[in-house]
Homo-oligomer: 467 residues x 2
């Protein structure tokens, strides 16, 4: 009998079931976020007053200073900047492009230089076009078909996938590696269909890389709007010998210093167990970075503000990290993880919001099956808020470098249907974010952080393992 009671006790201790008190606490977080939230006002300032925040830009530095000041004003236990050296790529004058089907017969099309690309000659680059559906087709065509031409990567995002992020993953190699691969076959430039499921006129930028390719081999790369991609493809069928001309004046400068912005509430019982919540402060330069990732930034700040506003005093150290340079380098995420390793800081959990400010559906967890079982036991607490998605999977680019076998990482998973309509394009602006959706996300994140703070990592709950 005693043995049974002991096992019962052990079971309760290990799986520490959420209770009525947790239920009330979540309700308090949601009520406060929806009735007296700060996230939307913060996002208004970040997008409409500061605007785009590409690493190394004035906007990025203003965002560092302003978010630090806002965190200071919350009365946290510690707010500080963590130096990070970041790349500095500058777009320069607005890009220009046209399709020439015959001498003097031209159609202007909207393009945008890919982040990290080299410029074209100042008069522009003009060449025949070869359309491919991807890197494999490029290889199949070979040097003979490619040399001297502009390669047009036109594999669309797959519309029948329910997760638009999965559709993005299935296409983004064209943007990231297309120029490097095409150059190896003698291409002179690359045009990539925008990573957008919608047919519209906005080109979407994003990171590309030449890897360790010799500077002399690097060719310019730009994204073209989906409507223009459709048009170019149709015109190529009518006139295979059409020419494409584009001009971009982008340039990479030497690295500059910037910062991750960090604020924390020190834990009352286990101050050495750190829980991180964050998003990335940098954005692309075309819109205002409202969904990517202004939303994640203000939601992460809101987690700590909601703890303060509701009088919740965490047992563990809760730290908001606003990472610099997710978009074109991940220097902030790497610097943060390197520092944590150096100083021996013990991170038990990290959560990133970097999938837009849309209605939250749940979380993806990078963790073991045992850890996931613990997390799943909390799922019923979220049902009143229509949060239903608890799955094992990825987390977020900035926190991924923190992963070790003693911690759990997670990513907020909002509704993804509209995300790529705005991603890295000039319509990623404040008006595309809905106040309630943003606030629901902040409350959902706060609730999960609260549960990890309350129950810790049950799977390793003896607090004795060495780092």
């Amino acid at each position: 009998m005693l043995r049974i009671i002991f096992f019962l006790f052990l079971s309760v201790a290990l799986h520490a079931q959420p209770n009525l008190f947790d239920k009330k606490q979540l309700r308090t977080f949601f009520d406060t976020s929806l009735l007296n939230g700060q996230a939307y006002k913060w996002l208004d300032y970040l997008t409409n007053r500061i605007g785009s925040r590409l690493s190394g830009s004035l906007g990025a530095e203003r965002a560092v200073a302003w978010t630090k000041a806002e965190l200071d004003a919350l009365g946290l236990d510690r707010v500080y900047l963590q130096p990070v050296k970041v790349p500095k790529w500058v777009r320069g004058a607005k890009e220009f492009a046209l399709i020439e089907t015959a001498p003097g017969v031209t159609f202007n099309v909207p393009i945008t230089a890919l982040g990290g690309s080299v410029a074209t000659p100042s008069v522009g680059l003009k060449a025949f076009v070869v359309e491919v559906k991807g890197i494999e087709e490029l290889k199949a065509l070979g040097r003979e078909q490619i040399e001297g031409k502009i390669v047009f990567f036109n594999r669309p995002m797959q519309a029948d996938l329910i997760s638009t992020f999965q559709a993005y993953s299935g296409c983004v190699d064209q943007r990231y590696s297309g120029a490097k691969e095409a150059s190896a076959y003698g291409a002179v430039g690359v045009i990539v269909r925008s990573m957008n499921l919608r047919l519209d006129d906005l080109p979407h930028t994003g990171a590309m890389s030449y890897g360790d390719q010799d500077v002399s081999k690097r060719i310019p790369a730009a994204a073209i709007s989906t409507n223009a991609a459709e048009k170019l493809s149709k015109l190529l069928k009518l006139e295979p010998n059409l020419k494409f001309l584009f001009r971009q004046q982008c340039k990479t400068y030497p690295d500059v210093w910037s910062h991750n912005v960090i604020g924390e509430i020190t834990g009352s019982e286990f101050p050495n167990e750190i829980i991180v919540v964050g998003g990335h402060l940098d954005s692309w330069d075309l819109g205002d970075g409202a969904h990517d990732d202004g939303a994640g930034v203000v939601q992460s700040m809101e987690v700590l503000r909601l703890f303060k506003a509701t009088g919740y005093k965490p047992k563990r150290t809760i730290r908001v990290v606003l990472f610099m340079n997710e978009e074109n380098g991940l220097r902030g995420g790497n610097a943060y993880a390197d520092n944590a390793l150096l100083t021996g800081e013990r991170h038990i959990f990290a959560l990133e919001s970097d999938a837009g400010g849309f209605t939250p559906r749940g979380f993806s967890f990078n963790c073991s099956d045992e850890e996931f079982a613990q997390v799943e036991s909390w799922k019923p607490l979220f049902k009143p808020y229509l949060i239903h998605y608890f799955e094992q999977g990825g987390s977020g680019a900035d926190i991924r470098p923190l992963k070790n076998k003693y911690n759990v990482l997670a990513g907020l998973r909002p509704d993804s249907q509209r995300y790529f309509d705005h991603h890295h394009a000039e319509n990623d602006t404040f008006d595309a974010v809905n106040k309630r959706e943003l606030e629901l996300g902040a409350a959902t994140m706060t609730s999960l952080i609260y549960l990890f703070d309350t129950y810790g990592l049950a799977v390793l709950s003896d607090n004795t393992f060495a780092r």
Copy 2:
């Protein structure tokens, strides 16, 4: 042993578990909707070419003719119009309103007449204002405080409710009955805060009713934008003796004839078991009725088109019904149900989409616990599509009159966060609807209709009960 086998068989027959074939069938519906959908093109036409469709208007009649022609073109077994007599209320010249804090000191504010309201005198109506939070407060104030004044109903939608429809239900009595109630205490007019969770400048119309109130007692009622409601409330605190002036020239004409639009695929095995899917064809006159309920109309049409396009031949009769006059009379829904009763048609299931074209989350079912158990057994089939909400509750206004104890009704439940930003206002337009979200909704509806077609109502599966 035989007995066990018999019970096993009975159990399988009764609960008819969905299988791998169902799984594939759902995948086919989703793929076809997302890759080769028609709903979005239809919605484009309905909203941008036809536009608003208030009962009795030219737009409504054009919508009847056009949807009938589109259904005809699908090659259904039967397409027809069902006559319905509908009210005809016409807004007239654009409304005008101002707040006068002192003689000559005025602020213009955006208002819109409530549907069914009487006009003001042609020079407008000007009076002192009394602000109340609802009908209870009106009664507490009594005739002395109300007589000769304009009553300003200013109870906002409750932002801490997760379902915005619940927030709407908690407020809409002010709009629907406010004028009738206020008139009983001698009020001369009514201004109602728009049913909108967002603070903006758009007034939202919607139905109101005088019930059987004598014509001489009827007072004009208008909605005011949420920003203007906030402003009026603040100004009233500074200047309780301010006056409000508004002018509207709306008018009710005698009823006119219109139609429900109906199309069906005759069932191959049980043609007398009817399954209905529908939305309402009429809309308010301010926007284009894209979410309310253009989305439901085109999604319902798409259900039958997807059956055709995928070669699925239903066992039961699948009928799309585009109801007329949901917004201000429900005449179409009532006429349809009356006719079903008269002709002895047996409806086993009806599904309505009238909650916007946003990402589908699931369904609400008006049914018994036993029937709900059957429906819940299908839930796992929907998980790949992130459809998680299966709850007992309401269905849709147009199909509710069909309810009897031998059928199940359901309503599509899309994400509700943005719905009331657009509901009954001039921004309920095509651009507010996302193509993928609309298509996911159509596929989700098709999947549920398919399952009811395949398994019928297991609870009453003997097909022998009398109507």
